[in-house]
């Protein structure tokens, strides 16, 4: 009996000892390689959560220059969020982190946010650059809105969770032009010649044009691609389209150099200029979603724990609406959390009734997702890049 105990004890100690010896040893040997899975799933919160996000994408206290929901998170759970607004476009950010990820090194970030209508989100998952979410730490995942539950790049939401969504449509400046409500108008109306811009993201631009052509953007064929591509090319050749832009169309539109622009709903909501109107085009618009991912080597439990926090409808509602009385601005994009609207209403009713933030059912029915396979089609991508950069 004593013998057995001793032996067991010995084995245990031996195992613990060797684990102690090997884990740090391995970590040191790999030089910052992704932590072993046992270390990751340890249900203990890290001291700091490294969160990389796009600019203007968090509730902000304008006076104190703080992010109230992050301050609250730290107060409640003792985890400091190292929040960095470093993502400006999917491609550049992917370019920045892919080198280390492809060598199996950690990028020292626990959450990053990438968009589903660009190829890099699915590429990250396909290449195994991301950690699996710890769903046991995200019971609030039940609040995820239905349409987001089974995207084709991550059928069961094992690796990704939406941060915010937005719509792609057309914005116009009513001091310079009458309403511009269709892609036809945007691409061919001679009054708008040289005064419109097109988005440089293929998924956004072609969804709109394909819908206007009567094609289905969620199932792209060579025929529908070529038809849409040639229409955009024609508009470039005829000098109707002045430039291809990312977010940078917003100031140009506000300044009056553009009459109309292919545009993202949230930008216009944030701009808050009463002369600039945004609408879903007559034949339909695009829907896109920015998704949170845990890059390899990130702290899965802490990241999942934070995701659970923002999927609490109350937290999400406040993040969305901000609080005008306390000088807090919200995110003003479309929240993926069911029930957030009720909470948003309490803190800023005007946000809750803004269709750019809480879209009507009719609006949501008229926006579409772009075919994920087409996003990764090298031939299409090359053709598109040649058009916009040559």
């Amino acid at each position: 009996m004593t013998d057995q105990l001793t032996r067991r004890e010995l084995l245990k100690r031996g195992a613990a000892g060797s684990a102690l010896l090997t884990v740090p040893g391995l970590l040191a040997a790999c030089g910052g390689k992704a932590k072993s899975s046992s270390a990751k799933s340890a249900h203990k919160l890290a001291k700091t959560l490294h969160f990389s996000n796009w600019t203007l994408y968090m509730d902000t206290n304008k006076k104190k220059h703080t992010f109230p929901s992050l301050v609250e998170f730290q107060k409640k759970y003792g985890v400091h969020v190292d929040y960095v607004e470093e993502i400006n476009d999917n491609a550049s950010f992917f370019g920045k982190i892919q080198g280390q990820l492809s060598r199996g090194q950690s990028v020292h970030r626990d959450i990053v946010v990438l968009t589903d209508n660009d190829r890099y989100l699915s590429l990250m998952i396909k290449k195994g650059y991301v950690e699996k979410l710890d769903k046991s730490a995200i019971p609030n995942m039940k609040n995820l809105v239905d349409v987001q539950k089974h995207p084709n790049f991550d059928q069961n939401r094992d690796y990704s969770l939406p941060w915010q969504s937005g719509m792609t449509g057309i914005a116009y400046n009513d001091t310079l032009t009458g309403p511009v409500l269709s892609v036809d108008d945007l691409l061919t109306n001679p009054k708008l010649k040289g005064k419109v811009t097109c988005l440089n993201s293929m998924g956004d631009a072609l969804t709109l044009v394909m819908l206007s052509n009567g094609d289905d953007p969620s199932k792209v064929t060579d025929k529908s691609f070529n038809a849409a591509f040639n229409r955009v090319k024609k508009a470039v050749d005829s000098k109707q389209i002045r430039q291809f832009t990312g977010n940078d169309y917003a100031p140009i539109l506000a300044r009056g150099d553009l009459m109309a622009a292919m545009s993202w709903s949230g930008d216009i909501a944030q701009l808050g200029n009463k002369h600039i109107h945004w609408n879903v085009p007559k034949d339909g618009g695009a829907l896109w979603t920015d998704n949170m991912l845990i890059p390899k080597g990130g702290n899965v439990y802490t990241a999942s724990f934070y995701m659970n926090y923002v999927y609490d409808p109350k937290v999400q509602g406040l993040m969305e609406a901000g609080d005008p009385k306390k000088n807090i601005t919200g995110i003003y994009y479309i929240p993926p959390v069911a029930g957030a609207g009720e909470w948003a209403k309490k803190s800023d009713p005007s946000v809750a009734s803004n269709p750019l933030i809480f879209p009507t059912k009719k609006m949501l029915d008229s926006v579409h997702l772009f075919d994920n396979n087409a996003l990764n089609n090298q031939k299409y991508l090359t053709q598109w890049q040649n058009l916009i950069s040559a």
């Binding site: 396909k126 040289g194 002045r242 430039q243 009056g256 150099d257 950069s389 040559a390």
Partner: protein, 288 residues
Amino acid sequence: MSFFHRHRGLTPYLLLGPGIAWLAVFFVVPLGFLAYQSLQSGNFDIGYAFTWSWGNYWHAIRDYHAQFVRSLEYAGLATVLALVISYPVAYWIAFRGGRWKNLLLLFIVAPFFVTYLIRTLAWETILSDNGFVVNTLQSLHVLGSSGRLLATSTAVVTGITYNFLPFMALPLYVSLEQIDGSLIEAAEDLYASKLHAFLRVTLPLSLPGVVAGTLLTFIPAAGDFINAQLLGSPENHMIGNVIQSKFLELTDYPAAASMSFILMAGILVAVAIYARIVGTEQLTGTAT
């Protein structure tokens, strides 16, 4: 100390060591890697393999010769403009600046305390369709009533000229400032007109500055992509824009690498032709 006495011959090499190591690690090695990458084939999904894929170079030239030519054209134009604008300025500061010289030089450099991107964005505002410049040009009938400057080649060349002006002005100033005034006086004593004195004395003596300024402006300008991105439309895009899109958007690293090499070769050829015309001693600044 005694070590250096005994190995006197080694000293220059020891002193050169850090510089050579720097160049080797941060220039030669990356360049070698770039060359290696430029001959790979494959794509990001399946991975890249080294296959002596010279086709990358051929494809780059076949598909993007317009952008290569445009880059050299815009850079050349901007260089000439920068020279024409900054020579009189540098001349005036060097010979007439007096005790204000340093302050005047500061004025040339001052805008460059602001970041490159912001300076270029400022031009977006200056040249905007409803801005002062366009309105004035329209009322002078230089531009048609629907004419614009933004998103045209004029705007791109203007942006490049502005952004690289100090690289031209400062070397020019240095070479002009060093000219011994008594040489010009002597020329005039020998019955040279002012113009003659300038053409026969001042201008040749300032040539090292012209050459240095030209190279410092032309070489980075040819690879620039920010000005074309912000101030141009797709038909004004330069090779830098294509390389950027190949590298970041398409993750087609071999194509981007081969284009970088072609651009490098193009610039070297342009510089070589230039050196032939003005003479190599000007290029290295050994002429006095």
